[in-house]
Point group: C3
């Protein structure tokens, strides 16, 4: 429970309407909140819900008008989405390690496990694994030999960390993700494919989150590296030798082919793909479903396949449906003209 005064302080906002001593018990959407809940308006798609919400408190942008005919308490702040996040984190703090190791876990004798690590049932920990303090290893995970985890990592159930994979501090891996699988590399000898040993590692820096069933292949020679603060959604394919920059965000089902370097602060939309051996400069934004087949030279959004500047793609896409009409007009003009 939080008083509105405490809530305002927590989100660095101003209580512009309502009673400082009033309390809230949690967060909800505008549509579903009751008077004991706080809510927020960030996506303008939901603006109309302001008129009907039952929320006790609403976080609004400092630039927003106070909606007429409403009585909920209001905290104004710079970014209501950040405010919502801060309050939600207050009400739902991240799980802490219990420090317990389940009897059924199979842990190699040479593993170096900090004293307050939680290891759940049916886990397998290989030789020379090291796990830093406060980390949680969910049930059914496999950490192969020489895997290294920093402090306060949370590896959800059924994750595979293949040999030599390294995680920094506060890394979160969702269930079913595979880090350190062999990259896809074969040489054609004339009558068959010869597997190329994949001897690089997967290096995940601090504060990275990796989504469910996402695959990050180990490098063929060089390491595959995900830099600090990057966030990857579910079912993403990251091929061998890829590098993803600081705070880059990759949406679900995107794919990045081998040896490509995605810069810092980049975004990739859902189901997009980038070909191999490319460089995307810092701040590149790849639209959903786009296919990138060349380096980018400047920050900004690209879309389509082959990807072009987003506005160019938008204009051309808008014309696509007129192709039959274009064809008809041309036929008429041609027949007339010839």
């Amino acid at each position: 429970m939080l008083t509105l005064a405490q809530a305002a302080e927590l989100v660095s906002g101003s209580l512009v309407r309502g009673d400082e001593a009033q309390t809230i018990e949690g967060m909800q959407t505008l549509a579903k909140a009751n008077p004991h809940k706080a809510s927020f308006l960030s996506n303008m798609k939901y603006k109309a819900d302001l008129q009907t919400t039952q929320a006790g408190l609403v976080l609004l942008s400092a630039k927003a008008e106070i909606p007429a005919d409403t009585s909920f308490a209001i905290i104004q702040l710079q970014d209501p989405y950040v405010g919502f996040t801060l309050l939600q984190r207050y009400f739902h703090p991240a799980p802490l390690s219990t420090g317990l190791i389940h009897d059924s876990a199979a842990i190699a004798g040479s593993a170096n496990i900090a004293s307050d690590v939680q290891i759940d049932a049916q886990v397998s920990i290989g030789e020379n694994v090291s796990i830093g303090e406060g980390s949680i290893i969910g049930a059914g995970c496999v950490l192969e030999e020489s895997v290294q985890l920093g402090k306060h990592c949370h590896v959800h159930p059924c994750v595979t960390l293949a040999k030599e994979t390294q995680l920094g501090d506060r890394v979160i891996i969702q269930s079913g993700a595979v880090l350190g699988s062999d990259g896809f590399g074969f040489a054609w000898t004339g009558d068959s494919f010869l597997k190329i040993p994949q001897v690089g590692r997967v290096i995940i820096e601090d504060d990275v989150e990796i989504g469910a069933n996402t695959c990050i292949d180990r490098g063929a020679i060089d390491d595959t590296v995900i830099k600090a603060g990057a966030k990857l959604d579910n079912l993403i394919q990251v091929a061998h030798g890829v590098e993803i920059g600081y705070h880059s965000v990759i949406a679900g089902q995107a794919g990045i082919a081998g040896s490509t370097v995605v810069g810092n602060g980049c975004q990739m939309g859902a189901q997009s793909g980038v070909a191999g051996h490319l460089k995307l400069v810092d701040g590149t934004i790849v639209g959903a479903k786009a296919g990138v087949i060349g380096d980018t030279k400047e920050k900004g959004m690209i879309s389509g396949f082959p990807a072009v500047p987003h506005r160019q793609w938008l204009r051309a896409s808008g014309m696509f449906d007129r192709l039959p009409e274009i064809w008809k007009k041309i036929r008429k003009l041609s027949d007339g003209a010839e």
Copy 2:
């Protein structure tokens, strides 16, 4: 083994040719069937196989002509595909729980397991899990705390059901699926991303099937809900807060972004995607590889990216390859005209 009379009764059809006492031992395709097998014609692509099949019995549509120069027994019925399904289910009934719990399963003391549940090797069952009668939990599955399963569910091996996930009755989950992973939600604070706690649940209603390695994220605030009878194929991404309606069918590698509502009786083709915060009305059909970026207003098929009515997309796509020709004609006309 079934007599043709029994088979006709089972599929509510009429034995229009053949001996009622003749028997069949199983189903096969027209191309591979032998005289002890039954087959069926549903996809007209395989019509020519009717002339060469060795099948002892063929299920045909009541509207189909009896093929000349053939001697197999024939049952006519409304829908040969349903008939095939009914016979195949007779020959291959769904597996029943053995009621056995493997010694290696790790089951929390507070779990509430009905007496005839089958739990295979290396399973982990968390605190306060409840599993209804007749359910089967495959080897290596992880059911985190407070997961609830109804009756006669079949969870195949290596599935993760994260905390608080709920399955109705007769739900089937294929291997490697992840239900209840954290949704992909972060707020940018100006120098890093702050993880938004994902506190909704995943609710799977009765008779839903979820494919292998499909991911269904828990809601950010509201639950993610898959309504009764919906069927999801493999490697699908269902983001936080999505709702999928009754009897909707989603093909492999499709993706649905956060908070989108897919109506009842919808279909999504393989590798299609729907953006977030949208509503697809009942009966919407999304073509393969389509990308939907707006609400739909009426039932029917949409295709392409951005998706448009299917016929419109078909016409425009058919013209796409003529773009070079169009360009040439225009250049000629322009040069002539200017």
Copy 3:
């Protein structure tokens, strides 16, 4: 360690510059190699690195010029990529089975395990499974009843091989892959979907590699078959009854719908898809992101959706961005002409 003379022999090349007795200790990229490492030039994108590399030895094509102003040793050979692969395999031989079975593995009494098989922690092996000599089963894998593996297979952690799945010899399965999940088959009865039993198997022939979290469904009636030497990357969907030919190569996140036959020596690009019940002839190459909706008749590359010959797609794609310009010109011409 290898002498240059040994290296030249191993790759069937000629040491055209350098001291036969000099040694190398491993492989690296041109950019990162030191004088104790060998490197190679195969992708011409990296040609400039030849001038700055610190490598002690470089593998070059027999057709390549000897680069001026360089001093590294040089082995010329037919295919530097194959040479790199051969040397890398010398320095990093594939892991051998330890022949050890972990105490925590749950192995059914009727399983038939060759004497030198390695079975890691938390594995579940069902009734009547057979595993050939020298195979390695990674931690957390589930082999359901009647699964059969040949010799020297390597199944990485957390793989599910569902009942009756068959692997030939030297098959490699990366982590999280699911083989033998139910195909996606339902018959609509008018008010609900009836599940069609999926009773075919998954048959994987010799020397196949399957990527992480890839799904290969069991056949509905016929088996799903991956023929010898085929290589599949991560997160691929192979539906029921598909057949993939010898030495075909499928890139990440591609999908193949039910009953389609992919010929021998085919290639499918990343995120491409092929509709069901089709035949791709030997040597078909499907471009990245392409969507194939018809049979192919001759070898060669197809691209786009619906897929057309690659050159045709390239030409049309090149014009796509000019659609607004085309529209403008047409409007001008039409207005003038009418």
